[in-house]
Protein backbone atom coordinates (compact mmCIF):
# COMPACT_ATOMS: atom_id res chain seq x y z
CA UNK A 1 0.00 0.00 0.00
CA UNK A 2 1.04 3.57 -0.74
CA UNK A 3 1.16 6.78 1.26
CA UNK A 4 1.90 10.19 -0.19
CA UNK A 5 2.28 13.32 1.93
CA UNK A 6 2.86 16.75 0.41
CA UNK A 7 4.34 19.47 2.63
CA UNK A 8 3.80 22.81 0.92
CA UNK A 9 6.75 25.21 0.86
CA UNK A 10 9.08 23.02 2.92
CA UNK A 11 12.53 23.11 1.29
CA UNK A 12 15.27 20.60 2.01
CA UNK A 13 18.40 20.15 -0.08
CA UNK A 14 18.53 17.14 -2.38
CA UNK A 15 21.49 15.48 -0.68
CA UNK A 16 19.86 15.55 2.75
CA UNK A 17 16.69 14.11 1.20
CA UNK A 18 18.62 11.35 -0.56
CA UNK A 19 20.06 10.26 2.80
CA UNK A 20 16.61 10.22 4.39
CA UNK A 21 15.15 8.28 1.42
CA UNK A 22 17.92 5.71 1.57
CA UNK A 23 17.52 5.13 5.27
CA UNK A 24 13.73 4.84 5.18
CA UNK A 25 13.90 2.47 2.19
CA UNK A 26 15.89 0.08 4.37
CA UNK A 27 13.23 -0.12 7.12
CA UNK A 28 11.58 -3.50 7.60
CA UNK A 29 8.33 -3.80 5.67
CA UNK A 30 9.07 -0.82 3.41
CA UNK A 31 9.26 -1.80 -0.25
CA UNK A 32 10.15 1.65 -1.54
CA UNK A 33 10.44 5.19 -0.22
CA UNK A 34 11.22 8.56 -1.75
CA UNK A 35 11.50 11.86 0.05
CA UNK A 36 12.10 14.64 -2.44
CA UNK A 37 11.21 18.08 -3.75
CA UNK A 38 8.40 17.99 -6.33
CA UNK A 39 10.41 19.08 -9.38
CA UNK A 40 9.09 17.84 -12.76
CA UNK A 41 11.94 15.28 -12.95
CA UNK A 42 11.17 13.95 -9.48
CA UNK A 43 7.44 13.82 -10.19
CA UNK A 44 8.18 11.70 -13.26
CA UNK A 45 10.37 9.49 -11.10
CA UNK A 46 7.53 9.11 -8.59
CA UNK A 47 5.01 8.28 -11.32
CA UNK A 48 7.37 5.61 -12.72
CA UNK A 49 7.63 4.14 -9.24
CA UNK A 50 3.83 3.97 -9.02
CA UNK A 51 3.25 7.03 -6.82
CA UNK A 52 0.45 8.76 -8.70
CA UNK A 53 -2.37 11.07 -7.74
CA UNK A 54 -3.62 14.62 -8.00
CA UNK A 55 -1.66 15.71 -4.91
CA UNK A 56 1.58 14.77 -6.67
CA UNK A 57 0.52 16.44 -9.91
CA UNK A 58 -0.41 19.67 -8.11
CA UNK A 59 2.78 19.85 -6.05
CA UNK A 60 5.40 22.38 -7.14
CA UNK A 61 9.21 22.44 -6.96
CA UNK A 62 9.20 24.06 -3.50
CA UNK A 63 6.94 21.39 -1.99
CA UNK A 64 8.34 18.39 -0.18
CA UNK A 65 6.87 14.96 -0.98
CA UNK A 66 7.11 11.93 1.27
CA UNK A 67 6.14 8.83 -0.73
CA UNK A 68 6.26 5.38 0.84
CA UNK A 69 5.10 1.93 -0.21
CA UNK A 70 4.91 -0.58 2.60
CA UNK A 71 3.36 -3.88 3.59
CA UNK A 72 0.94 -2.52 6.19
CA UNK A 73 -0.69 0.61 7.55
CA UNK A 74 1.43 0.33 10.73
CA UNK A 75 4.68 0.28 8.77
CA UNK A 76 3.50 3.27 6.70
CA UNK A 77 2.72 5.23 9.87
CA UNK A 78 5.98 4.37 11.59
CA UNK A 79 8.11 5.11 8.53
CA UNK A 80 6.45 8.50 8.01
CA UNK A 81 7.23 9.39 11.61
CA UNK A 82 10.81 8.21 11.04
CA UNK A 83 11.06 10.59 8.06
CA UNK A 84 9.71 13.49 10.12
CA UNK A 85 12.10 12.60 12.92
CA UNK A 86 15.11 12.51 10.61
CA UNK A 87 14.20 15.80 8.98
CA UNK A 88 13.75 17.51 12.33
CA UNK A 89 16.72 15.87 14.07
CA UNK A 90 18.94 17.20 11.34
CA UNK A 91 17.64 20.62 12.21
CA UNK A 92 18.18 20.20 15.93
CA UNK A 93 21.82 19.14 15.49
CA UNK A 94 22.37 22.29 13.51
CA UNK A 95 20.32 24.31 15.98
CA UNK A 96 23.05 23.94 18.59
CA UNK A 97 25.23 26.00 16.27
CA UNK A 98 22.43 28.55 15.64
CA UNK A 99 21.03 28.39 12.13
CA UNK A 100 19.93 31.81 10.96
CA UNK A 101 17.03 31.88 8.52
CA UNK A 102 18.50 34.46 6.16
CA UNK A 103 21.80 35.56 4.71
CA UNK A 104 21.37 38.94 6.43
CA UNK A 105 21.19 37.39 9.87
CA UNK A 106 24.07 35.06 9.04
CA UNK A 107 26.24 38.10 8.23
CA UNK A 108 25.32 39.60 11.61
CA UNK A 109 26.37 36.36 13.25
CA UNK A 110 29.67 36.26 11.34
CA UNK A 111 30.52 39.89 10.54
CA UNK A 112 33.96 38.97 9.16
CA UNK A 113 32.59 36.34 6.75
CA UNK A 114 34.24 36.73 3.36
CA UNK A 115 32.51 34.15 1.16
CA UNK A 116 29.00 32.87 0.53
CA UNK A 117 28.64 29.31 -0.80
CA UNK A 118 25.25 29.17 -2.52
CA UNK A 119 23.64 25.95 -3.80
CA UNK A 120 19.91 26.71 -3.59
CA UNK A 121 17.55 26.17 -6.57
CA UNK A 122 18.64 28.30 -9.54
CA UNK A 123 15.55 30.49 -9.73
CA UNK A 124 16.34 31.96 -6.29
CA UNK A 125 20.13 32.00 -6.66
CA UNK A 126 20.67 35.40 -8.25
CA UNK A 127 18.70 37.16 -5.55
CA UNK A 128 20.77 35.60 -2.75
CA UNK A 129 24.07 36.01 -4.62
CA UNK A 130 23.35 39.71 -5.10
CA UNK A 131 22.52 40.01 -1.38
CA UNK A 132 25.86 38.39 -0.62
CA UNK A 133 27.80 40.78 -2.87
CA UNK A 134 26.00 43.75 -1.34
CA UNK A 135 27.14 42.47 2.04
CA UNK A 136 30.75 42.46 0.84
CA UNK A 137 31.03 38.70 0.38
CA UNK A 138 32.77 36.87 -2.42
CA UNK A 139 30.46 34.27 -3.93
CA UNK A 140 30.85 30.61 -4.86
CA UNK A 141 27.64 29.91 -6.77
CA UNK A 142 27.08 26.18 -7.26
CA UNK A 143 23.49 26.63 -8.45
CA UNK A 144 22.80 26.19 -12.14
CA UNK A 145 19.82 27.42 -14.17
CA UNK A 146 20.79 31.07 -13.74
CA UNK A 147 20.38 33.13 -16.93
CA UNK A 148 23.39 34.63 -18.69
CA UNK A 149 21.87 38.10 -18.17
CA UNK A 150 21.72 37.51 -14.42
CA UNK A 151 25.25 36.10 -14.50
CA UNK A 152 26.57 39.25 -16.18
CA UNK A 153 24.71 41.43 -13.69
CA UNK A 154 26.23 39.53 -10.76
CA UNK A 155 29.71 39.66 -12.23
CA UNK A 156 29.47 43.39 -12.91
CA UNK A 157 28.29 43.99 -9.36
CA UNK A 158 31.25 41.94 -8.11
CA UNK A 159 33.73 43.84 -10.25
CA UNK A 160 32.50 47.19 -8.93
CA UNK A 161 33.07 45.92 -5.38
CA UNK A 162 36.39 44.17 -6.12
CA UNK A 163 34.83 40.85 -5.23
CA UNK A 164 34.95 37.50 -7.00
CA UNK A 165 31.93 35.55 -8.26
CA UNK A 166 32.80 31.92 -8.95
CA UNK A 167 29.79 30.57 -10.88
CA UNK A 168 26.88 30.16 -11.46
CA UNK A 169 27.22 26.46 -12.22
CA UNK A 170 30.57 26.32 -10.44
CA UNK A 171 31.43 22.85 -9.16
CA UNK A 172 34.88 23.29 -7.69
CA UNK A 173 37.35 25.82 -6.33
CA UNK A 174 40.37 25.41 -4.09
CA UNK A 175 41.16 28.67 -2.33
CA UNK A 176 44.10 28.74 0.07
CA UNK A 177 44.02 24.96 0.28
CA UNK A 178 40.32 24.91 1.14
CA UNK A 179 38.06 22.86 -1.17
CA UNK A 180 34.74 24.51 -2.04
CA UNK A 181 32.08 22.24 -3.55
CA UNK A 182 33.41 19.06 -5.16
CA UNK A 183 37.18 18.78 -4.90
CA UNK A 184 40.08 16.60 -3.90
CA UNK A 185 42.58 16.82 -1.10
CA UNK A 186 45.65 17.83 -3.08
CA UNK A 187 49.05 19.15 -2.08
CA UNK A 188 49.66 22.87 -2.02
CA UNK A 189 52.15 23.97 -4.63
CA UNK A 190 52.90 26.42 -7.39
CA UNK A 191 50.38 25.57 -10.13
CA UNK A 192 47.41 27.95 -10.30
CA UNK A 193 44.26 26.92 -12.15
CA UNK A 194 41.44 29.00 -13.61
CA UNK A 195 38.69 26.76 -14.89
CA UNK A 196 35.18 26.88 -16.29
CA UNK A 197 34.98 23.20 -15.41
CA UNK A 198 34.85 21.67 -11.95
CA UNK A 199 35.93 18.20 -13.03
CA UNK A 200 38.65 19.85 -15.12
CA UNK A 201 40.11 21.20 -11.86
CA UNK A 202 39.68 17.79 -10.24
CA UNK A 203 41.41 15.86 -13.05
CA UNK A 204 44.33 18.26 -13.43
CA UNK A 205 44.89 18.80 -9.68
CA UNK A 206 44.79 15.06 -8.88
CA UNK A 207 47.16 14.17 -11.74
CA UNK A 208 49.59 16.85 -10.52
CA UNK A 209 49.25 15.54 -6.97
CA UNK A 210 50.12 12.08 -8.26
CA UNK A 211 53.34 13.58 -9.66
CA UNK A 212 54.20 15.06 -6.27
CA UNK A 213 53.20 18.58 -7.31
CA UNK A 214 50.56 20.89 -5.89
CA UNK A 215 48.08 23.69 -6.41
CA UNK A 216 48.38 27.30 -5.27
CA UNK A 217 44.73 28.10 -5.92
CA UNK A 218 42.13 26.74 -8.33
CA UNK A 219 39.52 29.31 -9.26
CA UNK A 220 36.29 27.96 -10.70
CA UNK A 221 34.58 30.45 -12.98
CA UNK A 222 31.30 28.65 -13.69
CA UNK A 223 30.49 26.73 -16.86
CA UNK A 224 29.24 29.71 -18.86
CA UNK A 225 31.90 32.28 -18.03
CA UNK A 226 33.60 31.94 -21.42
CA UNK A 227 30.36 32.18 -23.39
CA UNK A 228 30.25 35.20 -25.70
CA UNK A 229 27.54 36.72 -23.55
CA UNK A 230 29.54 36.64 -20.31
CA UNK A 231 32.86 37.22 -22.07
CA UNK A 232 35.18 35.60 -19.54
CA UNK A 233 34.72 38.15 -16.75
CA UNK A 234 35.67 35.79 -13.92
CA UNK A 235 38.33 34.05 -16.00
CA UNK A 236 40.17 37.34 -16.59
CA UNK A 237 39.84 38.32 -12.94
CA UNK A 238 41.09 34.86 -11.92
CA UNK A 239 44.16 35.11 -14.16
CA UNK A 240 44.85 38.59 -12.76
CA UNK A 241 44.64 37.29 -9.17
CA UNK A 242 47.00 34.39 -9.92
CA UNK A 243 49.36 36.76 -11.73
CA UNK A 244 49.57 38.81 -8.50
CA UNK A 245 49.84 35.71 -6.32
CA UNK A 246 53.42 35.09 -5.23
CA UNK A 247 52.84 31.37 -4.71
CA UNK A 248 51.81 30.77 -8.32
CA UNK A 249 54.52 30.01 -10.91
CA UNK A 250 52.46 28.68 -13.77
CA UNK A 251 48.80 29.10 -14.67
CA UNK A 252 46.53 26.47 -16.28
CA UNK A 253 43.37 27.71 -17.99
CA UNK A 254 40.67 25.09 -18.59
CA UNK A 255 37.45 25.32 -20.59
CA UNK A 256 35.50 23.79 -23.43
CA UNK A 257 36.38 25.84 -26.54
CA UNK A 258 34.99 29.35 -25.95
CA UNK A 259 33.41 31.58 -28.57
CA UNK A 260 35.99 33.17 -30.90
CA UNK A 261 35.59 36.73 -29.57
CA UNK A 262 35.92 35.65 -25.97
CA UNK A 263 38.83 33.37 -26.76
CA UNK A 264 40.76 36.25 -28.35
CA UNK A 265 39.85 38.66 -25.57
CA UNK A 266 40.87 36.31 -22.76
CA UNK A 267 44.10 35.19 -24.42
CA UNK A 268 45.06 38.79 -25.19
CA UNK A 269 44.45 39.80 -21.60
CA UNK A 270 46.42 36.78 -20.41
CA UNK A 271 49.34 37.58 -22.72
CA UNK A 272 50.18 40.49 -20.39
CA UNK A 273 50.89 37.93 -17.68
CA UNK A 274 54.53 37.37 -16.82
CA UNK A 275 53.83 33.75 -15.95
CA UNK A 276 53.59 30.81 -18.34
CA UNK A 277 49.99 30.01 -19.27
CA UNK A 278 48.86 26.54 -20.34
CA UNK A 279 45.64 26.87 -22.29
CA UNK A 280 43.43 23.81 -22.32
CA UNK A 281 40.46 24.64 -24.49
CA UNK A 282 39.60 20.96 -24.75
CA UNK A 283 40.39 19.61 -28.19
CA UNK A 284 42.09 22.77 -29.46
CA UNK A 285 45.65 22.16 -30.46
CA UNK A 286 48.17 24.74 -31.66
CA UNK A 287 51.30 26.52 -30.56
CA UNK A 288 49.85 29.43 -28.61
CA UNK A 289 51.67 32.74 -28.52
CA UNK A 290 54.42 34.13 -26.29
CA UNK A 291 54.35 32.37 -22.96
CA UNK A 292 51.15 30.55 -23.85
CA UNK A 293 51.04 26.89 -24.84
CA UNK A 294 48.03 24.80 -25.76
CA UNK A 295 47.09 21.43 -24.30
CA UNK A 296 44.55 19.21 -26.06
CA UNK A 297 43.51 17.10 -23.05
CA UNK A 298 43.36 17.65 -19.30
CA UNK A 299 46.14 15.11 -18.87
CA UNK A 300 48.33 17.01 -21.36
CA UNK A 301 47.67 20.21 -19.39
CA UNK A 302 48.76 18.53 -16.15
CA UNK A 303 51.85 17.08 -17.83
CA UNK A 304 52.83 20.46 -19.32
CA UNK A 305 52.34 22.22 -15.97
CA UNK A 306 54.49 19.60 -14.32
CA UNK A 307 57.11 20.11 -17.04
CA UNK A 308 57.23 23.85 -16.33
CA UNK A 309 57.58 23.38 -12.58
CA UNK A 310 60.19 20.65 -12.87
CA UNK A 311 62.00 22.45 -15.70
CA UNK A 312 61.71 19.45 -18.01
CA UNK A 313 60.09 19.25 -21.39
CA UNK A 314 56.89 17.23 -21.29
CA UNK A 315 56.54 14.45 -23.85
CA UNK A 316 53.18 13.06 -24.88
CA UNK A 317 52.29 9.40 -25.08
CA UNK A 318 48.95 7.67 -25.29
CA UNK A 319 49.37 5.46 -22.20
CA UNK A 320 51.51 5.47 -19.07
CA UNK A 321 52.03 1.74 -19.52
CA UNK A 322 53.98 0.15 -22.39
CA UNK A 323 52.34 -0.44 -25.75
CA UNK A 324 52.70 -4.23 -25.53
CA UNK A 325 51.11 -4.41 -22.08
CA UNK A 326 48.23 -2.15 -23.09
CA UNK A 327 47.61 -4.06 -26.31
CA UNK A 328 47.57 -7.43 -24.61
CA UNK A 329 45.22 -6.19 -21.89
CA UNK A 330 42.90 -4.79 -24.57
CA UNK A 331 43.01 -8.07 -26.41
CA UNK A 332 42.03 -10.05 -23.36
CA UNK A 333 39.17 -7.60 -22.69
CA UNK A 334 37.76 -7.98 -26.20
CA UNK A 335 38.09 -11.74 -26.36
CA UNK A 336 34.68 -13.29 -25.77
CA UNK A 337 32.86 -10.37 -27.34
CA UNK A 338 30.27 -11.18 -29.97
CA UNK A 339 30.24 -9.61 -33.42
CA UNK A 340 27.33 -7.33 -32.54
CA UNK A 341 29.29 -5.64 -29.74
CA UNK A 342 30.83 -2.63 -31.44
CA UNK A 343 30.21 0.43 -29.36
CA UNK A 344 31.48 2.37 -26.37
CA UNK A 345 28.95 3.66 -23.87
CA UNK A 346 30.47 6.38 -21.69
CA UNK A 347 28.42 7.20 -18.60
CA UNK A 348 29.86 10.24 -16.88
CA UNK A 349 29.35 12.12 -13.65
CA UNK A 350 31.87 14.77 -14.73
CA UNK A 351 30.66 16.90 -17.65
CA UNK A 352 34.14 17.88 -18.80
CA UNK A 353 35.40 14.32 -18.60
CA UNK A 354 32.47 13.38 -20.86
CA UNK A 355 33.52 16.12 -23.26
CA UNK A 356 37.19 15.13 -23.13
CA UNK A 357 36.29 11.53 -23.98
CA UNK A 358 34.39 12.70 -27.04
CA UNK A 359 37.40 14.76 -28.11
CA UNK A 360 39.55 11.63 -27.84
CA UNK A 361 37.06 9.11 -29.25
CA UNK A 362 35.79 11.01 -32.30
CA UNK A 363 39.04 10.80 -34.32
CA UNK A 364 39.46 7.14 -33.33
CA UNK A 365 35.91 5.79 -33.58
CA UNK A 366 33.99 8.29 -35.73
CA UNK A 367 30.87 10.08 -34.61
CA UNK A 368 30.13 10.06 -30.88
CA UNK A 369 26.56 10.79 -29.81
CA UNK A 370 25.84 12.67 -26.62
CA UNK A 371 23.42 14.82 -24.67
CA UNK A 372 26.34 17.28 -24.52
CA UNK A 373 27.91 16.70 -27.94
CA UNK A 374 30.99 18.20 -29.61
CA UNK A 375 28.81 19.22 -32.58
CA UNK A 376 25.07 19.95 -32.54
CA UNK A 377 24.35 17.27 -35.14
CA UNK A 378 25.64 14.57 -32.77
CA UNK A 379 23.04 15.39 -30.13
CA UNK A 380 21.01 12.37 -28.97
CA UNK A 381 17.29 12.71 -29.48
CA UNK A 382 16.68 11.14 -26.09
CA UNK A 383 19.47 11.20 -23.48
CA UNK A 384 18.05 7.98 -22.04
CA UNK A 385 18.68 6.00 -25.23
CA UNK A 386 22.22 5.42 -26.50
CA UNK A 387 23.05 5.22 -30.18
CA UNK A 388 26.32 4.00 -31.71
CA UNK A 389 29.22 5.31 -29.68
CA UNK A 390 27.65 7.40 -26.95
CA UNK A 391 28.94 9.53 -24.06
CA UNK A 392 26.35 10.74 -21.55
CA UNK A 393 26.87 13.62 -19.14
CA UNK A 394 24.69 12.42 -16.28
CA UNK A 395 25.25 15.69 -14.43
CA UNK A 396 23.37 17.68 -17.07
CA UNK A 397 20.11 19.40 -16.34
CA UNK A 398 17.75 16.66 -17.53
CA UNK A 399 19.14 14.32 -14.87
CA UNK A 400 19.66 16.59 -11.86
CA UNK A 401 16.90 19.15 -11.27
CA UNK A 402 15.83 18.41 -7.68
CA UNK A 403 18.15 15.40 -7.48
CA UNK A 404 21.67 15.12 -6.08
CA UNK A 405 24.52 15.27 -8.56
CA UNK A 406 25.59 11.87 -9.99
CA UNK A 407 28.90 12.15 -8.12
CA UNK A 408 26.79 11.77 -4.97
CA UNK A 409 23.80 9.76 -6.11
CA UNK A 410 24.80 6.80 -8.25
CA UNK A 411 21.28 5.39 -8.71
CA UNK A 412 20.58 6.70 -12.23
CA UNK A 413 24.03 5.70 -13.42
CA UNK A 414 23.68 2.21 -11.98
CA UNK A 415 20.37 1.74 -13.82
CA UNK A 416 21.98 2.97 -16.99
CA UNK A 417 24.94 0.58 -16.67
CA UNK A 418 22.49 -2.33 -16.52
CA UNK A 419 20.57 -0.94 -19.47
CA UNK A 420 23.74 -0.72 -21.56
CA UNK A 421 24.69 -4.26 -20.53
CA UNK A 422 21.39 -5.52 -21.97
CA UNK A 423 22.10 -3.81 -25.30
CA UNK A 424 23.68 -6.35 -27.66
CA UNK A 425 25.70 -3.57 -29.34
CA UNK A 426 27.56 -2.48 -26.20
CA UNK A 427 31.20 -3.54 -26.15
CA UNK A 428 32.61 -1.22 -23.48
CA UNK A 429 31.04 0.69 -20.61
CA UNK A 430 33.30 3.66 -19.88
CA UNK A 431 33.06 5.40 -16.50
CA UNK A 432 34.54 8.12 -14.33
CA UNK A 433 34.72 7.66 -10.58
CA UNK A 434 35.20 10.98 -8.86
CA UNK A 435 36.39 11.02 -5.25
CA UNK A 436 36.97 13.93 -2.88
CA UNK A 437 34.86 16.27 -0.81
CA UNK A 438 31.24 16.52 -1.93
CA UNK A 439 31.28 13.12 -3.65
CA UNK A 440 29.67 9.84 -2.59
CA UNK A 441 31.48 8.41 0.41
CA UNK A 442 32.00 4.96 -1.12
CA UNK A 443 31.56 4.90 -4.92
CA UNK A 444 33.05 1.42 -5.32
CA UNK A 445 30.40 0.02 -2.98
CA UNK A 446 27.76 1.59 -5.24
CA UNK A 447 29.29 0.50 -8.52
CA UNK A 448 30.90 -2.85 -7.70
CA UNK A 449 27.76 -5.01 -7.35
CA UNK A 450 26.11 -3.28 -10.34
CA UNK A 451 29.11 -4.00 -12.54
CA UNK A 452 29.15 -7.64 -11.46
CA UNK A 453 25.42 -7.85 -12.34
CA UNK A 454 25.98 -6.09 -15.65
CA UNK A 455 28.68 -8.55 -16.64
CA UNK A 456 26.44 -11.47 -15.63
CA UNK A 457 23.54 -10.01 -17.55
CA UNK A 458 25.62 -9.77 -20.71
CA UNK A 459 27.03 -13.24 -20.00
CA UNK A 460 23.58 -14.85 -20.04
CA UNK A 461 23.21 -13.45 -23.57
CA UNK A 462 26.54 -15.00 -24.51
CA UNK A 463 28.39 -11.70 -24.48
CA UNK A 464 31.33 -10.31 -22.56
CA UNK A 465 31.26 -6.61 -21.81
CA UNK A 466 34.32 -4.67 -20.79
CA UNK A 467 34.07 -1.99 -18.10
CA UNK A 468 36.81 0.66 -18.19
CA UNK A 469 37.14 3.49 -15.68
CA UNK A 470 39.47 6.08 -14.24
CA UNK A 471 39.42 7.25 -10.65
CA UNK A 472 39.80 10.98 -10.10
CA UNK A 473 41.24 11.16 -6.62
CA UNK A 474 44.25 11.28 -4.32
CA UNK A 475 45.57 9.25 -1.41
CA UNK A 476 44.39 11.93 1.01
CA UNK A 477 40.78 11.93 -0.20
CA UNK A 478 38.22 10.78 2.38
CA UNK A 479 37.17 7.72 0.30
CA UNK A 480 40.51 5.80 0.43
CA UNK A 481 41.53 5.56 -3.21
CA UNK A 482 43.37 2.28 -2.79
CA UNK A 483 40.32 0.55 -1.36
CA UNK A 484 38.18 2.01 -4.15
CA UNK A 485 40.58 0.70 -6.80
CA UNK A 486 40.71 -2.74 -5.20
CA UNK A 487 36.93 -3.14 -5.01
CA UNK A 488 36.42 -1.94 -8.59
CA UNK A 489 39.19 -4.16 -9.93
CA UNK A 490 37.71 -7.19 -8.20
CA UNK A 491 34.36 -6.40 -9.87
CA UNK A 492 36.21 -6.71 -13.18
CA UNK A 493 36.82 -3.04 -13.97
CA UNK A 494 39.95 -2.10 -15.93
CA UNK A 495 41.34 1.03 -14.29
CA UNK A 496 43.36 3.59 -16.20
CA UNK A 497 45.40 6.42 -14.63
CA UNK A 498 43.44 9.23 -16.32
CA UNK A 499 40.18 9.79 -18.14
CA UNK A 500 42.03 10.38 -21.41
CA UNK A 501 43.78 7.02 -21.15
CA UNK A 502 40.52 5.29 -20.17
CA UNK A 503 38.86 6.66 -23.32
CA UNK A 504 41.78 5.56 -25.52
CA UNK A 505 41.76 2.12 -23.95
CA UNK A 506 38.00 1.79 -24.50
CA UNK A 507 38.57 2.57 -28.18
CA UNK A 508 41.30 -0.04 -28.40
CA UNK A 509 38.99 -2.67 -26.91
CA UNK A 510 35.84 -1.76 -28.88
CA UNK A 511 37.78 -1.65 -32.17
CA UNK A 512 39.50 -4.98 -31.35
CA UNK A 513 42.87 -3.25 -31.54
CA UNK A 514 42.22 -1.54 -34.88
CA UNK A 515 42.76 2.01 -33.54
CA UNK A 516 46.21 0.96 -32.26
CA UNK A 517 47.90 2.34 -35.35
CA UNK A 518 46.38 5.78 -34.82
CA UNK A 519 47.26 5.70 -31.14
CA UNK A 520 50.78 4.34 -31.26
CA UNK A 521 51.82 5.23 -34.78
CA UNK A 522 53.75 2.55 -36.60
CA UNK A 523 56.76 2.49 -34.33
CA UNK A 524 56.99 -0.06 -31.56
CA UNK A 525 57.62 1.21 -28.07
Amino acid sequence: MFKIIVEKGNYRDSVTLMKVSNEVSKLKGVSQAAVLMATPLNKRFLADAGFKGSEVEKAGPDDLIIAIEAASEEVLESSVSRVEEMLSSRESVEAEEIRPRTLTSAVKLMPDANLALISIPGRFAKREAMNALESGLNVFLFSSNVSREDEVELKEAAKARRLLVMGPDCGTSIINGVVLGFGNVVRRGSVGIVSASGTGIQQVSTLLDGEGLGISHAIGTGGNDLSEKVGGMTTMEGIRLLEEDEGTRVIVLISKPPGPKTSTKVLNAASRSSKPLIVNFLGEAGAGSGKQVKAVTLEDAARMASGFVKGKKAGTRPFSDSQSRVRSLAQSESSGMSGTQKYIRGLYSGGTLCYESQVILAPLMGEVFSNAPLRPESRLEDANISRGNTCIDMGSEEFVVGRPHPMIDYSLRKNRILKEARDTETAVVLLDVVLGYGSNEDPAKELGPTIVSAKKLAGTGGRHISVVASIVGTREDPQDIQKQAKVLASAGVVLMPSNAQAARFAALVASRGAVGRKLFGDGKR
Partner: protein
Protein backbone atom coordinates in the same frame (compact mmCIF):
# COMPACT_ATOMS: atom_id res chain seq x y z
CA UNK B 1 20.44 44.11 4.67
CA UNK B 2 23.53 46.01 5.63
CA UNK B 3 24.12 47.31 2.13
CA UNK B 4 27.56 47.82 0.64
CA UNK B 5 29.65 46.81 3.59
CA UNK B 6 33.14 47.89 2.53
CA UNK B 7 34.89 44.73 1.33
CA UNK B 8 38.36 44.19 2.67
CA UNK B 9 40.83 45.33 0.06
CA UNK B 10 43.04 42.25 0.17
CA UNK B 11 42.13 39.62 -2.39
CA UNK B 12 40.25 36.53 -1.29
CA UNK B 13 43.37 34.49 -2.11
CA UNK B 14 45.24 36.14 0.76
CA UNK B 15 42.61 35.67 3.43
CA UNK B 16 41.49 32.88 5.68
CA UNK B 17 38.08 31.79 4.40
CA UNK B 18 35.05 32.38 6.60
CA UNK B 19 31.97 31.03 4.91
CA UNK B 20 28.20 31.44 4.95
CA UNK B 21 26.50 28.39 3.40
CA UNK B 22 23.08 28.46 1.75
CA UNK B 23 21.74 25.18 0.37
CA UNK B 24 23.39 21.77 0.29
CA UNK B 25 24.40 21.03 3.87
CA UNK B 26 27.22 18.57 3.10
CA UNK B 27 29.18 21.46 1.60
CA UNK B 28 29.13 23.12 5.03
CA UNK B 29 30.00 19.82 6.73
CA UNK B 30 32.96 19.33 4.37
CA UNK B 31 34.23 22.85 5.10
CA UNK B 32 34.03 22.19 8.84
CA UNK B 33 36.07 19.01 8.32
CA UNK B 34 38.70 21.23 6.72
CA UNK B 35 38.76 23.49 9.78
CA UNK B 36 36.87 26.34 8.13
CA UNK B 37 34.43 28.44 10.16
CA UNK B 38 30.97 28.18 8.60
CA UNK B 39 27.56 29.59 9.39
CA UNK B 40 24.83 27.48 7.79
CA UNK B 41 21.65 29.29 6.80
CA UNK B 42 18.39 27.38 7.21
CA UNK B 43 17.30 28.68 3.84
CA UNK B 44 13.67 28.49 2.70
CA UNK B 45 12.25 29.82 -0.57
CA UNK B 46 11.03 33.41 -0.12
CA UNK B 47 7.25 33.85 -0.14
CA UNK B 48 6.95 30.11 0.49
CA UNK B 49 8.08 29.53 -3.08
CA UNK B 50 5.05 31.31 -4.51
CA UNK B 51 6.65 32.83 -7.60
CA UNK B 52 3.86 35.25 -8.30
CA UNK B 53 3.97 36.61 -4.78
CA UNK B 54 7.76 36.73 -5.02
CA UNK B 55 7.66 38.81 -8.21
CA UNK B 56 5.19 41.14 -6.51
CA UNK B 57 7.45 41.49 -3.46
CA UNK B 58 10.44 42.19 -5.69
CA UNK B 59 8.49 44.92 -7.49
CA UNK B 60 7.75 46.46 -4.12
CA UNK B 61 11.46 46.33 -3.33
CA UNK B 62 11.00 43.94 -0.43
Amino acid sequence: MEKDREPEKRSILKRKLKVINLGIEIFADDLKKQGVEVVGVDWQPPAGGDEELLRLLEKLGA
